[in-house]
Amino acid sequence: MDFTFFLIQALNGVQYGLLLFLIASGLTLIFGIMHVINLAHGAFYMVGAYLVWSLTGVFDSFVVAILASIVCAAALGWVIERFLVIHLYNRDHLDQVLLTYGLILVLNEVQRMMFGSDVHSVAVPEAVRYSIPLTDMMSYPVYRLLLAGICLALAVAMYWIIQRTRLGMWIRAGAANREMTASLGIDIRRLNALVFAAGTALAAFAGMIAAPLSSVYPGMGDNVIIISFVVVVIGGIGSVKGAFLGALAIGLTDTFGRVLLPEMSSVMVYALMAAVLLWKPNGLFARA
């Protein structure tokens, strides 16, 4: 591999890692703050992709469709929290797994009833529908770069909100000690609903902006949920910073694993997870 291709592969790895971060961040947020294991996270990713696909047809604009889809996804998250997840806070993780697994089945079936089993695609917005030539043969789609930029911006925004704002302080306090935070007069129920809605919207948003790169098809969320959990476990459950580094590590490992050790490529990310867990059993940035 010469140096140019090494650089391109590194770019591929970082770009893939950033997208993984976006998908996994909502998962780690919901777990870290609400202590809820949300298996339906991948299904929310699928919901986002289908929302933007159908709304692009309605609004005829990708950006407007995304904005509308975010509102819909957040509303869906809010409703699910209010009527279903709210009963789980004092229950065991197994009950949470059962409910959220049930949600996967329900959402998949609703998807099939509403949109059928065909494969769809969302067009890349006109303004960024070109590629930058990198070598005589290879070029890089601008949309992928834009995607990486959006993911990076969101990572910074999340860090800022959680570490630097009053809302973030409440969220961190709620995560550390729920009873104490509530007794200080903070409405923990509303905070939970907000976080769950935000987590849902993040997963859905990942599905939305990935839709033009990928395709929109039934069960697409099932493929991302496993890798999302790997990211979250490597990063330390509940840590956004950990999820960020974990996602980048996985993106790079997966990319270079495919090229340098193709026979091993399917196990590389899991080997990385095992290695990290041997070294730090609670992940890179586990909360104490």
């Binding site: 591999m1 010469d2 291709f5 391109i8 592969q9 591929n12 790895g13 770009q15 893939y16 065991d92 197994l94 998949n108 079936e109 099939r112 059928g116 089993s117 065909d118 494969v119 769809h120 695609s121 067009a123 890349v124 590629s131 030539p133 070598t135 043969m137 290879m138 070029s139 890089y140 789609p141 949309y143 992928r144 790169l213 990928s214 395709s215 929109v216 098809y217 039934p218 069960g219 697409m220 493929n223 997966d254 990319t255 270079f256 495919r258 090229v259 193709p262 490529s265 399917s266």
Partner: protein, 406 residues
Amino acid sequence: MTTFKTSFSRRAAVKAAMAFGVGLAAAGAMTATTSTGANAADPVKVGLMLPYSGTYAALGEAITNGFNLAVEESGGKLGGRDISTVKLDDESDPGKAVQNANKMIKGENVDLLVGTVHSGVAMGMVRAVKDSGTLMMIPNAGAGPATGQLCSENVFRTSFSNWQPAYPMGDVAYDKGYRNVVTMTWKYGAGEEAVAGFKEAFTKRGGKIAQEIYVPFPNVEFQANLTEIASLKPDAVFVFFAGGGAVKFVKDYAAAGLKGSVPLLGSGFLTEGTLQAQGDAAEGILTTLHYADTLDNPKNKAFRDAYKAKFGKEADIYAVQGYDTAQLFQIGLEAVGGDMARKDELIKAMEQAKINSPRGDFTISAAHNPVQDIYLREVRNGENVVIGVAAEDLSDPAPGCKMATN
């Protein structure tokens, strides 16, 4: 945690025991009703064990529609017997394949078991009917061993073997002047068998495979491998992908700028049912397959019109395969006057059958796989346009099949 665990397991155990008891009672009732009599006035019972949910749901539905259309066209009967069908969702889960097949064979007592799309599930079904001797027809799954190593008297296939549509592309690629080709597919049975077929024909002529790339199934992150292809600079790329993965691969391939410089070849499933989603990115892709929507013959036209009139959507290759499954069964049943007890004669008639299919006439090989033309197609204006016949009357070599050697 421990207290919870024990209480849960106790509750679960009670529930499971209750469910099991109810299940047993239901199974008893089911066999009781079906075993009361199987005389000629009863309908022939066909079990459709297909994916009715999940990624392959559209395929299961098309196969079912095709099958029903053929039955309806001959007045709701095949070989003078009424046909009743039972449907079972196989969930494309190989882990449940044998159990589900036995539900059809023993629970429902079907005369013919039709299934399925997923190769792993189909192999489980083949194993189940090997024990029971039930007649089985595969309307899609291309796993080589089903009509190869594990071929069996009572198992027929009306679709293709994975080798079959890919092999002729090796010759096409060589004739186009390509000498150095990269192959890429998911690391799973269908992909590996298709690549092996392509490679066999291509290297026999003197072509060279620069690299065989395998991506874990069903991973759809291809960017790293596309970069690798660009660094290898091959004459062409041969791939096997289907469904959502095929859409993503074709779009990624174009977005990476490879479309203009390295021609993309594929087993036909790359551009089946995916063209609308692939859009411009698919233009110019060459594929080989035993069917094309645009195939110009009267049977295909009539079939497509009837299908559209009845189901309100365009027919596809899976519908054709479902249709031909019923057609082949009809030939067998007619030969024995609808008497399922004369199974040996029925099988013999199906072995000698010539099926008038929308894909063109085909016959059945000694290993019970179709002997059929493979068409060369090019994507033009969002359609698979047939530009020639890549291989005439192509028969799968059926390695390891005892029925094929004598």
